[in-house]
Symmetry: D2
Subunit: 333 residues, 4 copies
């Protein structure tokens, strides 16, 4: 961490500041220049509140050199984390195709899709029971009933299941859920993250619409600080000025996250683009740049889907995608 | 609502589609062209799921002509809503200066600031008890104890108090709070919004970091759909590529929101800019474009503040801002 | 095109408006509703000035249904355009690896790199002679001398050359250049585009930092309107809030552009990420989602490069990338 | 400037690096830590190429502490620059209302508007002769004829005139133009900027759609490096995800630029919002936060304007805005 001091700092002020830094276990190096004095701080600065420091009268600016995240940081944990979900592994060379409908709608729908996507190459089943919708008048999901239907599909196919949580009070309903998803809109719902830190189930943490990779890692850190280290990160598109696609899929996040953290990274091309025709090329691209898994929306009848039909594939289309993704994986490995 | 059909739609398909629209109480007008067929839908389309429609095989695109929000819409409620908080009114020509520290820290701190900002012209006291921080290692607020200290300051000064909620389970602690704030990160925490729709306390709803005005109004709609119509909207800066300021204060949101909705709109220049030197000019600008109130961070010792010191004013500085804002108000009224 | 009228339009006004539309060769369809009247316009609306229409007193809003670009539009030119550059083809199934240094620096440098990248699989040589730099104090390129050095490298290797133009007055210097590049900062330098429409050399048009795909296609349209249809589009990253990478590479632009236009699309992962370690995964991802070519910065001594060294690969690294990209191509084709 | 070195740098490498820095006239301070070594560079680092430094094998990252702009920097030129245009002054407490049509259309139109805006309080006349339009099929301006018409209006009213240049080759036509405008799309057309540095006419430099304040200042630096210090900066809205307004007017840029530079700053609320109804509140807000001038589009018949009618005011509306802005100015001064 580097602090740049304002002109005209007195020796006394400087001394006080240095003493304060040293009291926090940091080593202080002073570079005095004609126009500026720079203080270098060496040691564990991850717990120094950068805004507090910037607020000091004598400080012009502060720049963090090291990352503010610890548990998620690859520097301190060089080996890939492998998240195990039933008999499925994600990360460290293990790749997973996750598929299913945006919303769970009927017993037949989820059972039919579950069987079809398993047949087509999926190893995990996704399906929304609690749906975060922009409008209070849109379909909000089948809630507890939806989770129950998902459990039936799990029982019938043997695939582990992943579904989204919106409220920590609902946790008892997620007992048989294998992976709990935190959606983009809740990525900084810190109260929810803290509760998920107390359990040991794998968490699939989606990047927020306008959140940086650093913020995504800090949100992972919230969960890990509670003791739950089973985290799968998910890139699902960010908000930009472009309007042809719903969001802009930031695939460079995949290799960048792999450099910054040991946690596995999956990609959701369906939500990112919002257009079913773009799912195949973007899924292949995600695999090509090293994603540890891909999560795709599949519906047996997209034009009748109660939500996000425009971005859903049919089981046949998913099969084609899965096969092509696997061919890309062979090149990457 | 206007739906553009794909080329090659059969008469039968067209008929089915029209029947379906009509079954939803909509009147259908068909404009058949050589290259394109456009369907105009007249009636209450606010509950039509636009994504579902776009997912239909025969539909190329759908454009919503009318707004998807109803209760918050000025078209249906032309008069300004005036939110009453104790003896303070906001909206409909009533203007409120809201001030206080980012975080409640000690009994002396909050009591001292409360008295100072009241003296300087504030009519409502803000102070954070639950603090949403990006890092789990940063100060998270005094929580329940903080609310208690805020209540003492309310008792001593007579000013109504506003503080942020992060978890609906904490609602019992907010019984004596006058205005409950929903922070930017929770603007689309729909579970929280639904719970706040069940109470009748005024809600100060902050715009999310990367949320459109339409989404802000849809979040207000979530609360209003539950029956709570006491909502104050708050512009607090959006995320852009500019890095000199923490966020980009979107002041055109003020007149635009006044056109779209009857709800009052306040501005928070402290969080928007993150720089105390910019608070005065931006507060004056906010008043000049018609804001119904301004919320400013004030700390008796900014350089010692436990959070966001860099953006806090001293009580003396706040007094200067308040006086200038009032002069602007005289021009605007 | 659809125009929504304001409430209270008189019959006379409506009649005048319709007559005016019809005088422009458009067919008018009127959908009168209780709350809103919508006018559908069928015909060639590409030349209707949408802002003029929105400015009319009686019009509330206008929505364009069809695209404002014609020559670049796949709807009217369903077959892929294949741009031929010497013996190299780009588009329509033809893929090209383009490589070379950010800046041409010395005769040895450009000659050495040219031979190395040809050996490693490149079919076209890039090199900057005119450099657009944010600071007037940074190295601005060797200009005419640089182009001459590039021509020597072309003569020695047989590879066609591509280099950037910043000023139409420099065109005489580009006589032996095979592909003229328009950089991101000049994507909407319409005066330059018009001049490039008058020649017949292939143009590599880079997407601007904050330009939509529609604007990119409108800029291509500027060149094509002049008669030059040899255009290669280039995605090179857009500006977002993320700071780990220099820009955000928008790979979904590749399949989206392929849907919208018949022009070939290449990807520049070097400028997009600004980090040499990310070039390989992003080049592979670009190939996987269907890019028609990839342009990569290669320098024989990146740490001594006069510009953009941080994003340049060594010839050895480029060879590895090229081999992997070719393996991905085999899956894609 | 601060450079963070990678782990494992040898003493020899360190020594070489320091020698190199010192050869550039910089003083080097080394802070060696257990995990990281930080090098502080004191002196004139404005000409150090930061990308080159980051490209060195042994450097992990580089952070610039001081600003890369010199001539435009308030640190080195503490007094406000006052730009004189005929008898009009801008900056240093001098405020100017600039008004006129988006496009010059006919002799009557520009003459009529010129007289009307002068009457209403404008001191300078704007009007577009060369129009940068996204589509090649939209009206491109009257070009040289337009400038001639503008000169007639100048002769008749005595107001200095400002109009946009798109091509340095057109400079001879601008001989009688008082202020030459560089539009947002050309803010980084460095070839044009360099040519404008060679003349001594005042330049009105508009911020690009997606350009940071630092880049705006670097573009001013391009002109100033040539010797032309008569520059007026203009904030005109930036591109964000919000769609209700055409762009997002970044008013905090006004006080921020005043802190960073001595150059005057004007605001264009017409282009920023694209909506005539928002011009008045945003003009007042611009004045309230300290703008040195405001530039507004006025048309005698907005609904018939050949471009941007939706954002133009009538002369009567402009009169009302000008009066209110002047009242705000009284508070600000």
């Amino acid at each position: 961490m580097v602090a740049v001091l304002k002109n005209g700092v007195t020796e006394k002020q400087m001394e006080n500041l240095c003493t304060w830094f040293e009291s926090q276990g940091l080593t202080v190096h002073i570079c005095e220049g004609k126009f500026q004095t720079i203080i270098g701080l060496i040691g564990d600065t991850s717990k120094v509140d950068i805004e507090l420091l910037e607020g000091l009268d004598i400080v012009e600016s502060v720049k963090r050199i090291s990352d503010p995240f610890k548990s998620a940081n690859r520097k301190f944990h060089p080996d890939d984390t492998i998240v195990e979900v039933g008999n499925v592994k994600i990360g460290g060379g293990n790749f997973a195709m996750i598929a299913g409908p945006c919303s769970i709608e009927t017993p037949d729908q989820i059972m039919g899709i579950a069987k079809a996507v398993k047949e087509a190459g999926a190893v995990m089943l996704r399906g929304g029971a609690f749906k975060p919708r922009t409008s209070p008048y849109d379909f909000q999901g089948l809630k507890g009933d939806g989770i129950e239907l998902l459990e039936h599909a799990k029982a019938a196919t043997g695939m582990p299941i992943v579904t989204e949580i919106m409220n920590a009070n609902h946790l008892p309903m997620f007992e048989n859920v294998d992976v709990i998803q935190v959606g983009a809109r809740n990525m900084q719902n810190f109260e929810l993250l803290k509760e998920l830190g107390k359990i040991r189930k794998p968490i699939l943490l989606k990047r927020g619409l306008a959140n940086t990779l650093k913020e995504l890692l800090m949100s992972a850190e919230y969960i890990m600080a509670g003791g739950n280290e089973n985290i799968i990160l998910c890139e699902r598109g960010i908000r930009t000025f472009e309007t042809y696609t719903r969001n802009t899929l930031d695939l460079s996040a995949v290799p960048m996250l792999h450099e910054l953290t040991h946690l596995p990274v999956v990609v959701d091309p369906s939500h990112a683009t919002g257009i079913s025709r773009l799912v195949k090329p973007m899924a292949m691209a995600a695999a090509a740049c090293g994603a540890d898994g891909i999560m795709i929306e599949v519906h047996n009848n997209p034009s009748q889907a109660l939500c996000d039909g425009a971005q859903s594939l049919t089981p046949e289309q998913f099969k084609d995608v899965a096969e092509n993704v696997m061919k890309i994986r062979e090149v990457v490995q």
